[in-house]
Amino acid sequence: MSSIFNAQNIAFLGFIAIAIILLGFAGIVLLKIWRGDIGLDGLLAEPVPEDKPDASMKASLSRFQFLIFTFVIAGLFLLLSIEAGTFVDIPTNVLALMGISGGSYLVAKGVGGGSAGTDKSDKKKPKSTA
């Protein structure tokens, strides 16, 4: 009896439990995306400004790039950590790559938001009473 519950078996059972939870959670998320419970309509597009409700949504390239890089690097980190049996280190250049992608997204969002902001300031001008 004591040989069944040794450290190795407990570690194995723990790993199996974590794997089932992780894959189960991933499966539920995928199922909800498939059924539409988790909406992906605005995944690539910037939200429509409040002052322009009739404006159409437009896909953002910097957002798309950030999404792809995040998925790929996080996915590789997860997969290779499982393969190595321990958390793997992330090289500085890969972190710089994520930084470039994220920084580009932020600047693009700021530039896009800045051009929308000038329209808002025009609307706040007081109307003439003449």
Binding site: L23, L30, W34, A55, A59, I68, L79, V88, D89, A108
Partner: protein, 110 residues
Amino acid sequence: MQLAARILQYGLLIWFGLLFGLIGMRILRGDIVASGILSSRPRGQAVEPERALMVAVFPTVVLFYAYSALTTELPIVNGRPSLPDIPQILLMLLTGSNSIYLAGKIARGG
């Protein structure tokens, strides 16, 4: 334990594949807005060169890195396994294409 790790690894790879397939299908059906990615105008007709450059560069970088990470052995850095490093030239390529994209975006007024 190795078998369980392999199962989890392949399970996650399949999950990523299904997720990307689902997103791709939604984009093709039009449920996810993907139009206007090559133009700064919502209904722009002209493809802007800085956007076309970025669309050409970043998938190249992503595919190269993903391929090298999945097909080569993990390097050992300071006694610990590490993700493969990305070549400096690719980093410079990505920085350049992003800089040109942002410059074009600023020049066109967002």
